[in-house]
């Protein structure tokens, strides 16, 4: 009974609450919108400030001013035509070291053949074998010079390379074989290995000594440098390059 009589009041309350809720939502939306607009306004203001600062910086650093500073302090000038490089190769060429002949290495080589035969008494077996092989025949010497210790190296490849070098110059071979001595000395392990298997695979052991020697020398030579003048040098460098490639 009483509930019924209050029905209209409840209805009115509900409607009022709903209206209030709707209003609150609308208010909330409006305030969000206002905040968004505030942010947008700030963005525009900041952009305007940035523009102002850019203008100021641009005005202070105008080209005319830079030119004056350049004239008074920096003295920079436009690059001349010859200061431009066309490609990376030209650029690399500018940085390449001056090619100069290694005087030291050839001297060692030249003196090497004679001592190599004598130090039979020396404890270095690999040297000894090297010397003996070098005395066998010019062709074999060439083999040694271009040999590598790597097991994947096949004798065929060596054979192909060596005749070319041999044809060029038989004389320089001792030169190449020589350097083996000074270098192999400080390596007793390699020597021992060579000693252990000199009979079974004489060429390989010799090669091991040679490669090591050569590798040390190669570091000093410029692999990209043009061929040295003279046939002897040509053959020499060819061998260097061969071994280099194999490495």
């Amino acid at each position: 009974m009483s509930v019924r009589s209050f029905h209209s009041v409840y209805m009115a309350g509900t409607v009022a609450a709903a209206a209030l809720g709707c209003y609150l939502v609308s208010l909330r939306v409006a305030s969000e919108r206002a905040a968004l607009e505030g942010v947008e306004t700030r963005i525009v203001q900041t952009q305007s400030d940035i523009r102002m600062l850019q203008t100021e910086i641009g005005t202070r650093g105008r080209l005319d001013q830079l030119e004056q500073w350049n004239a008074s302090a920096l003295s920079l000038s436009a690059p001349a035509a010859n200061q431009f490089v066309e490609d990376s190769f030209q650029l690399a060429k500018l940085a390449a070291p001056d090619h100069h002949l290694e005087v030291k290495a050839p001297v060692i080589m030249a003196s090497a053949p004679a001592p190599a035969t004598q130090p039979v008494l020396g404890n270095d077996q690999s040297d000894q074998t090297a010397v003996t092989t070098s005395q066998d025949s010019p062709q074999q010497l060439v083999h040694e010079a271009s040999l590598k210790i790597e097991p994947r190296e096949t004798p065929e490849v060596e054979a192909i390379v060596s005749p070319a070098a041999a044809r060029n110059k038989p004389a320089p071979k001792p030169l190449v074989s020589k350097p083996a001595q000074p270098k192999s000395k400080p390596e007793p392990a390699a020597a021992a290995a060579a000693k252990a298997a000199p009979k079974k695979t004489p060429r390989l052991s010799i090669a091991s000594a040679h490669t090591e020697t050569k590798s040390v020398k190669l570091a000093e030579a410029d692999p990209l440098a043009p061929l040295p003048y003279g046939k002897a040098h040509a053959a020499h460098s060819q061998q260097f390059r061969d071994s280099d490639r194999r490495k």
Partner: protein, 574 residues
Amino acid sequence: MNAPTAALVAPRPERLRLVGQRRQILSMMHQRLMLGMLLYAGIVAIIALRLVYLAAFGVHAGEQGGVPALIPDRGDIIDRDGEPLARTINAWSIAIHPDKVIGDKLTLAGKLAQVMPERSEADYFAMLKSGKPFVYLQRRASPDLVQAVNAIGEPGIEIQREPVRLYPQTTLAAHVIGFTNIDGHGAYGIERAFDNQLSDPARRGAPVQLSISMKVQQALEHELSDAMTHFSAIGAAGVVMDVHTGEVLAMTSLPAMNPNAPGQVTPDQMFNRATQGVYELGSTFKPFTLAMAMDSGIVRSFGQMYPCPKELPAYGHTVHDTEPYGRPCSVAEIMKNSSNIGMAQIADQIGAARQQAWLKKMGFLSPVAIELKERGRPLTPRTWGPFETMTVGFGQGIAVAPLQLAMGYATLFDGGVYHPPTILKIGPNHPLPPGRRVFTADTSYRMRSLLRLVVTMGTGRKADAPGYRVGGKTGTAQKVINGRYSQSVNITSFAGVFPMDDPRYVMVMMLDSPKAMPETFGFTTAAWNIGPAFGRTVSRIAPMLGVEPDMNREPDMSEVLPYVQGAQQTTKKD
């Protein structure tokens, strides 16, 4: 209780009448009350509805009436790389309302004179006593000054912000950009030519992009101004153009003006020598005459011979050469040493009518086609007889603007196709207009080696920039002073194209009345003054324009070299 008597109960007639009246009054009052209530209810309802409406759609507190977009009061002008050349900023202005000044006027005048010493204390006092409603004390005031004036604390002083036009690069390309007047409307240059676009609210948001390259412009202006100072010239002009599109990459006129202070610009500074000034540009005209002759079938080979006597009498006048050959000479030699005598004969063969038709086709008989409004009208001979044809053939008797000359060279080396010069960047907003063929492509190609020859062996050797294959032509014209050709005052110019094996840019530089210097051995000809400046400018701007220097490339010189007697390098003047 006593039973009521009938007499007592029965109402008296008056009373009955009263009851009827009362009822009437009551009902009227009810009606009135109802009316009043309805009225109030209506008002309340209106207010409530209004409130609801406002809550839903109304403007709330703190709303800023729409977000202001970043649209400047006047459109920006930018260069081809987007660097600003003209901008509108808000600057401070200081004004005073003399009739609203509260404090002691004498003291105020003293304080004003202290912070703004441009005017004396007496001046300020007179201003304050004048009783005027409004006087500007300073426009474009610096923030420091504004602070100082604000510290005076006089309520009659008004400090406000107003938009002003600022040119950040000051004098750079001033003749192209121009300036605005005090009302903010364009008064010169681009500001004037594009005033509608720059001030239209719908379009001013997007900047006007020029074809000018700021860096190239600076290099050109600097080198030209160096040459002008060095040779004490009274003026100079320079133009750099893209051969293929006709875009003007740089254009300058000296003496320079400062558009930030247009009030201080003198008429001489305001004169745009590159477009308004028309000059007889002398021998720089000769390549056109030769190209006309080649296209008309008069000159078929650079080896064609012409008699080149020491002087050539023609139509009652005599044509002279600075260094006459005195022997028959080939067309290549005529160009190499810039022989007036040889070129006069070629022009004579072309004839006046054909020459005029060619010049019209090249756009040399009408004001130069550029967007700027400061344009000069070319001067042509009043009577175009056979002798005038000869003089026009070697560049005398016809006066054109330097920009026009650059346009002519661009036409000649863009395969013979004419594109109207433009100051706006060619792009999506401003597409390249269709060209118009003037010369044949073959003539255009063959001219390359000829103009390269002028620079490698002829009069333009000092204009060479190693590696950039410059080709061009010197020009020295005597200046007309009081109606007569002066023998000592010259206008020297150099029109050149680079790189000559594939022409991309044309540059014209001009000096007005250069003086002789010790290192020029007394000469005031183009080879000595503008030539070296041209070479320096090319070596500076070519790398910026992406022209790669190459010492091993040259145009096909076998076209001309066989026809040049001896390869001896002799110093030649124009």
